[in-house]
Amino acid sequence: AQSVTQLDSQVPVFEEAPVELRCNYSSSVSVYLFWYVQYPNQGLQLLLKYLSGSTLVKGINGFEAEFNKSQTSFHLRKPSVHISDTAEYFCAVSAGNQFYFGTGTSLTVIP
């Protein structure tokens, strides 16, 4: 069975500060890993995904994530956040035809 844990439900951070949103997963099979973002009143938008190869994945809007197989983690990072990054972020794993999501992390960027 697959599951995803996002340890932080809310993360406040000051503008231009770095941020890390944590994601851990468990799976009995090989998985593919995703981060999605949901801006207010919009659908989920893909930030980045890890399929294979380099464990450091770069996505849109300056975000990146690192796949760590030994720690079963896929943490999302950004070196300097902007007000427009305020949104909810979802980590997901795919196995077979389903996505398994975490509970989401609400990022609030404070001016």
């Binding site: 995803v4 998985v31 593919y32 995703f34 999605y36 009143n41 919009q42 659908g43 989920l44 938008q45 893909l46 995904k49 399929l51 979802f90 997901a92 795919s94 196995a95 077979g96 035809n97 389903q98 996505f99 398994y100 999501f101 975490g102 509970t103 989401g104």
Partner: protein, 116 residues
């Protein structure tokens, strides 16, 4: 290119009533998925269509939920009769390829359903 659209954006109904949610996937996408997020919890898979056929409906909560995809285009999700625990945000997603585990799913904005 238009994204995934969902209608309505919000729906408020009384317990025992019927509600039908609609999803229009991105044109040409054979795969269509329904998910639900109950407040504060994770987004959970409901079912998966490939064209007009149900590929996997293992996430459907019970037989009060009925999903259809006419002609392999748009899809509807009917809840009849609605119960309080059906409240949540219902997301639709689509993808263009045969599902190989790494395909990106494109999500709609969701329908927020409130059952009173």
């Amino acid at each position: 290119e238009a994204g995934v659209t969902q209608f309505p954006s919000h729906s408020v109904i009384e317990k025992g009533q019927t509600v039908t949610l609609r999803c229009d996937p991105i044109s040409g996408h054979d795969n269509l998925y329904w998910y639900r997020r109950v407040m504060g919890k994770e987004i959970k898979f409901l079912l998966h269509f490939v064209k007009e056929s149900k590929q996997d409906e293992s996430g459907m909560p019970n037989n009060r939920f009925l999903a259809e995809r006419t002609g392999g285009t748009y899809s509807t999700l009917k809840v009849q009769p609605a119960e309080l625990e059906d409240s949540g945000v219902y997301f639709c997603a689509s993808s263009p390829l045969i599902w190989a585990g790494g395909d990106t799913q494109y999500f709609g904005p969701g329908t927020r359903l409130t059952v009173l």
